[in-house]
């Protein structure tokens, strides 16, 4: 039902804005500077949804990929520009939390959200919005041609038959890459995880910069198998590429797009309003258009190629581990695979 009206708010928002402008109410608008890694089209929908209840708060976005926006926020640490960080990976927000850059705040309705998708401190420094998990894209046409079987598990991908046929995102530059690596280290233990990656490395043809590329490359038949994330996998298959999505049985590494208030903000009230919206059911329904799993347990998205029980397939994730060990893990990864990455 709701979805039928989704496209309309644009018009009504303009109408409302025009009416407000006529009465001079616009003069009292607050403008929030929001740093985000969300996609542009998502931002449009989210802003509309937010402004339905908060017409007096304007959102101005600075948008970039997770790595870039994280770099930016850290670079500005001494003098933060943003009021709110919206839709950036939890591993990054954990870093900001550790740096003391976030103002803890429990938005209205926070207790209704799935607890494991948000900060464990109370009040939470960051609130989760939606989950993206590692999946494996497998090109059925090329697989058949080359006699390469469809993998069922992470362990399968380390078998010699996949030599030179796997691509995965570089954990240093890609959020998807990092959540996969931190996932393996958590599931298999540190020693087991590195041993697994040593074997996997023998099969990896390319470490890409982005988490989308491996699945797109698999879809284009450049490489048979790509380690990517759920939404991109769904999208590539939807567009007609001959891929199957594999959800390895050991469990999927994952991360949460999350939001938090920057401690230095001078617009705390407006920032809290935005955080309140983040936790609403309505907001979660907007996330559900792009993600298979969202923080509000009553909102059940349905992406055609992602199983409904995705929440059962993901691992138990420790974001504090992922954030505090980030630098160490990346350095180790670089040492092991960076040096012999030339093929």
């Amino acid at each position: 039902m709701k979805s039928m009206f989704r496209r309309k708010p644009g018009l009504s928002a303009i109408a409302v804005a025009a009416a407000l402008a006529a009465t001079g109410a616009l003069a009292q608008k607050t403008e929030l500077l929001v740093y985000t890694a969300l996609e542009t089209d998502q931002l449009k929908a989210y802003t509309e949804s937010f402004q339905k209840t908060n017409p007096n708060i304007d959102l101005k976005f600075v948008r970039d990929s997770t790595g870039v926006i994280t770099a930016k926020i850290l670079a500005e640490k001494a003098n933060p520009q943003a009021d709110v960080i919206l839709g950036v990976s939890a591993s990054s927000l954990e870093i900001f939390k550790a740096e003391g850059m976030l103002a803890p705040y429990a938005p209205a309705g926070f207790d209704k959200l799935t607890a494991t998708f948000s900060d464990t401190s109370r009040p939470p420094s960051w609130v989760g919005m939606d989950v993206y998990a590692a999946v494996v894209c497998y090109n059925t046409v090329e697989g058949q041609k080359k006699g390469i079987p469809k993998p069922e598990s992470w362990a399968d991908l380390a078998k010699p038959v996949y030599k030179g046929q796997v691509t995965m995102p570089n954990p240093a530059s890609s959020g998807t890459g990092y959540l996969s690596v931190s996932g393996w280290l958590q599931v298999m233990g540190e020693a087991g995880g590195w041993k697994y990656m040593d074997q996997l490395h023998e099969n990896v043809a390319q470490y890409t910069h982005s988490g989308s590329k491996p699945c797109r490359q698999s879809g284009a038949g450049e490489f048979v198998v790509g380690i990517s994330f759920d939404f991109r996998g769904n999208d590539v298959k939807q567009k007609g590429a001959p891929v199957d999505l594999v959800f390895p049985k050991e469990g999927l590494g994952w991360d949460v797009e999350s939001s938090g208030i920057v401690k230095a903000t001078k617009k705390m009230d407006a920032a809290k309003k935005l955080m309140d919206w983040v936790a609403t059911k309505e907001a979660n329904m907007a996330y559900a258009k792009n993600f298979a799993l969202v923080a509000h347990p009553e909102v059940k998205p349905s992406l055609p190629h992602i199983p409904a029980d995705l929440d059962k397939k993901i691992i138990k994730n420790n974001f504090a581990f992922a954030a505090s060990n980030r630098e160490k893990i990346l350095a180790e990864w670089q040492k092991r695979y960076g040096a012999k990455s030339e093929k």
Binding site: D41, S174, A205, T208, Q334, K335, G338, A339
Partner: protein
């Protein structure tokens, strides 16, 4: 090599107007308009200091700081060299650049030889085809080679077990991208030969090979060195190509990106920037020295070389150039073709999907418009700045101590890779304390950075044109107490219009295609088309990336055509005096 300075190259010979001017200097300096000239020159120099030297200084500073901003001396360098993966990139970048130079120079030399020394047919056409890569962002070649030789490439069969990803792809793409740059330099070098040398050799019955070895090559020696330097530097600092087709083959330019963007390690990024700056600075120094000695090559008594028809040779040259031209078009054409293919390699039907869904619906068309905006401002304001500064340097007097500094700042950008410049810009402008902080994330900073990045060539073009103009114009104007800007607008600009247009075209096309300098500087609202290509490719959307690259080539081509028409028209109207 004769040491006599040649007036055509602008050296000051005794009795020249410059000296004439100097004699009367005390009287001439009285005119208040000179002070205006000084003020502008001062401002221009200050601008170059702020937008070139200060960012570079910031890189140096950052490389000596820890992440927390404390001074740590050379610790970052030490830890860099202790990371084998990073240190290895130095070697990778070095040998790839050397190999590209070794391949490109002979190819381009033969092509240039054909253009200048043979009577081959379709010269103009072949020359233009060979210059086509200039219209495209360097990434286009890499994208195209993936469609030709990638795992699902049309000619994958030719590759056997070899992968195009990695060094092979990087090398061939760089050869394509650097070819026209080398060609232009070598054509100039080969056109500068004195025909009398060949006449003398013929009279003495010298053989063809010997003539080539003893006259042609030595004559073009400086051009060869210069072209080799340009190709080597380009290869060393290009970011787009290794990013797209490099696979796991790490090079310095991609390392900077990974360190700064991926790992947020600004200090190590600065270290790589300095490592990148060092060899480039060396080649640049060598080149400037070599260029200085070049000037005495042609004298007023030289006779231009006119090639004589020779059937076999001309045909061979036509065949060679046609083959290379065809290869160029194949590379360009593949990117254009692939941008229309619906779902490579499973559905080869043609559609506009990549343009419609991949670009317009994805909200990326605005980045194309941003590119046009940026190119427009570079081509207008950038040209104005470059030409005015060159004019003031060349044609006005006074402020003797300031001039060498401005001159140096004007030729320095050639030695600064775009990635390094861009990184320096973030370091410098992100600081809140910087009064120019407001520029950060604006379109203006992209325009400034791009203009500075391509400053040297533009400056040299302006200088060459201005030097052809007799300084007597200024001397006479000054003695008649005419303000310098009158002379500037009524004499210098009209006479130098071809050069002004050339600078403007050069800045426009480069602004459309540049990646490296703006890679760190764009804000969400100012993403330009070439950056969008990197992002699209990074996300694996290579079809849309090809579409955007094709759009850029088409735009650059149209713009060049417009400039050409303008040039022809202007030539007719303003250049009659040259006859």
């Amino acid at each position: 090599m004769s040491a006599t300075p040649d007036p055509a190259y602008g050296s000051i010979a005794p009795g020249s107007p410059q000296l004439f001017g100097r004699v009367y200097r005390p009287r001439l300096r009285v005119h208040w308009s000179d002070r205006v000239a000084h003020a502008i020159l001062l401002a221009a120099g200050a601008a170059l200091a702020v937008f070139l030297l200060a960012p570079l200084a910031m890189i140096l500073a950052k490389s000596l700081e820890s992440r927390a901003g404390e001074f740590v001396g050379l610790a970052n360098f030490v830890s860099y060299f202790r990371t084998p993966a990073l240190a290895r990139s130095i070697w990778n970048s070095a040998w790839v650049s050397a190999l590209v130079t070794a391949i490109t120079i002979p190819l381009a030399f033969t092509f240039a030889y054909a253009l200048t020394r043979s009577c081959m047919r379709f010269k103009a056409l072949l020359r233009n085809v060979a210059l086509v890569p200039i219209l495209a962002p360097s990434l286009l070649a890499a994208i195209s080679f993936i469609f030709w030789f990638g795992n699902q490439g049309l000619l994958k069969a030719l590759m056997g077990e070899t992968q195009i990803y990695g060094a092979p792809g990087v090398v061939v793409s760089l050869v394509f991208a650097t070819f026209p740059h080398a060609l232009m330099i070598l054509v100039t070098a080969l056109s500068l030969t004195d025909a009398r040398l060949y006449e003398a050799a013929d009279a003495l019955g010298t053989g063809t090979v010997r003539k080539f070895r003893t006259i042609t090559v030595p004559g073009a020696k400086y051009g060869l060195v210069s072209a080799a330097m340009v190709v080597f530097t380009y290869s060393l600092s290009d970011f787009g190509i290794p990013k797209v087709i490099g696979g796991n083959f790490n090079m310095l330019a991609t390392d900077i990106f990974k360190l700064v963007i991926g790992q947020q390690d600004f200090a190590k990024g600065a270290v790589v920037a300095i490592i990148l700056l060092a060899p480039v600075a060396v080649t640049w120094l060598v080149d400037t020295r070599v260029q200085k000695r070049q000037s005495a090559l042609l004298s007023a008594r030289s006779v231009p070389f006119v090639p004589r028809p020779s059937r076999g040779f001309d045909w061979a040259m036509t065949a060679y150039c046609a083959l290379l031209g065809a290869l160029m078009l194949a590379v360009l054409g593949m990117a254009a073709y692939a941008s229309f293919v619906k779902l490579w390699p499973y559905n080869f039907s043609l559609s506009l999907d990549h343009y419609r869904m991949g670009l317009v619906e994805a909200g990326l068309f605005s980045s194309y418009l941003n590119s046009l905006t940026m190119a427009f401002w570079c081509a207008s304001l950038g040209t104005l700045f470059v030409f005015t500064t060159a004019y003031l340097l060349e044609k006005t007097r006074g402020m003797g101590a300031w001039r060498p500094f401005v001159r140096l700042a004007a030729v320095l950008p050639m030695g600064v890779p775009g990635m390094v410049l861009g990184l320096g810009y973030i370091f410098f402008f992100v600081e809140q304390a910087n009064p120019l902080h407001a520029l950060y994330g604006s379109m203006a900073i992209l325009v400034v950075c791009t203009t500075v990045h391509y400053y040297t060539s533009s400056h040299l073009t302006a200088l060459t044109a201005l030097k052809q103009l007799d300084n007597e114009f200024e001397a006479v104007s000054a003695s008649l107490r005419v303000a310098f800007w009158r002379t500037f607008f009524r004499v210098s600009v009209p006479v130098c219009l071809p050069a002004v247009l050339e600078i403007s075209r050069y800045l426009f096309v480069n602004a459309m295609t540049t990646v490296s300098a703006v890679m760190f500087l764009y804000a969400p609202g100012t993403v330009v088309a070439s950056v969008a290509i990197v992002n699209l490719d990074e996300a694996g959307d290579i079809g849309a990336a090809a579409a955007m690259a094709t759009l850029i080539v088409a735009t650059s081509a149209v713009v060049c055509a417009v400039y050409h028409v303008l040039q022809v028209w202007l030539d007719r109207r303003t250049q009659a005096w040259r006859q």
